[in-house]
Symmetry: C2
Subunit: 266 residues, 2 copies
Amino acid sequence: MSLESATRLTPAGEGQWVGELGEDWDILGNTNGGYMLAMASRAGTEATGGRVPVSVTGHYLRPGRAGPIEVTTEVVREGRRFATVRSHLSQNGSVILTTLGSFADNAEDDPEILLSDAEIPDLPPPEECIHVLPVGGLPFPPPFLAQLEMRVEEAMTGMLRGQPVGEFVTRGWLRPSDGEQLSPHFLVLACDAFPPTTFNGGLPIAWTPTLELTAHIRRPHTQGWLRCLNRTRFISSGFIEVDGLIWDQEDRLVAQARQLALLPKA
Amino acid sequence: MSLESATRLTPAGEGQWVGELGEDWDILGNTNGGYMLAMASRAGTEATGGRVPVSVTGHYLRPGRAGPIEVTTEVVREGRRFATVRSHLSQNGSVILTTLGSFADNAEDDPEILLSDAEIPDLPPPEECIHVLPVGGLPFPPPFLAQLEMRVEEAMTGMLRGQPVGEFVTRGWLRPSDGEQLSPHFLVLACDAFPPTTFNGGLPIAWTPTLELTAHIRRPHTQGWLRCLNRTRFISSGFIEVDGLIWDQEDRLVAQARQLALLPKA
């Protein structure tokens, strides 16, 4: 199912929407966090007459499950250049995700690059990479990888066979799987689509629930393959940070993300 | 005035508070964004019976001015381990800052470091650094630097005399100025206390208003000098990102921050 379909929202009153968390967007039965934030992003766009996400933060309160969802949006301020929206995603009357985001005029698109001080990951072209697909009956790769096309280097697949690279890094290509156009909400999803960096770092932690995820969308109207890099530098005081960078095919930064996840208590 | 005094809030009804933005917390007449986020952080602590900030995001809607402020807090969820709070800071009936944050049990303090993959800035000891103080009548250094003690290397002071280092980096020591204890809210403030990285990078941009700032507080109960590093890697598509890291005197990460600021339109 395309992200466009999977984030469809039906108006249900002033600042009220209903939708459905898709069944194939989960990992071990819990709905993927990036997908849920993409739905909140979509809600923000709907609530502001088509503005696009610039910075969206979500705090994850409870796991999401496939099934009906209610979304409430509140436009805190609607300015000329930016609108600020907060939202709740709820299931069975309980908030599962609460968000705060700024949304810009859809026409904004400033290609100028004044500084780009980062090493863009050197990946083989997508067609020479390995297409990561779920395997029926196994939890990893998770089923939601059937909803998009993820391609990684051979070495990156080792973590799925218990042969991690030993670096707290994941990287690879990403695009919608079905010829669907990239949307700004797909970029939000892309900020949390890769396996946990701990898998590849070799730290045997299966489940690092996200407390908070912030996605900055620099170029909402990019097309083609996304070149993604996720890196963890700090695992301490019970928390894991994951920092994400996404470039387009012309090596322009399109998104930047950071999440704070929980280290399970021993 | 200590941060403790400058963020004092008086209850004014259920989830309602009144306070005052201090006069000496501004830059070119606009209240410092880190100070305003520290006030929201304090409000979150008050609203949750003393929990401490873990991740706090603010979206800046209008400039703050010295004077009375109203704060409204809403506890979205109060869990065993974390409480999630959203707040508005308002002046004259208009929201100037809207925030979303998670707050943890005050007793949480897990010193374990499993990964720390970053170069801690090599600074001379604070007593060999230069104490940056405001100069009467000049906009820079801003007056709020009298409210805390900032110490930087000689080379870092060049940006105030039009001799930037040419790197989009600021770094130095920080602590409260008056013998006040560090608080988790001071750590939030510390995430936005240094001059813009563009000053030191040599890009002649005087005013880069913050759209959004997220502060992660790893160790709320640190004491002593804070070792701070702020770096900008991406100035593109009309936005500037600033990434901040703060360590304590024992080289433990205490806070990590990111902000998205606006590049003025030509």
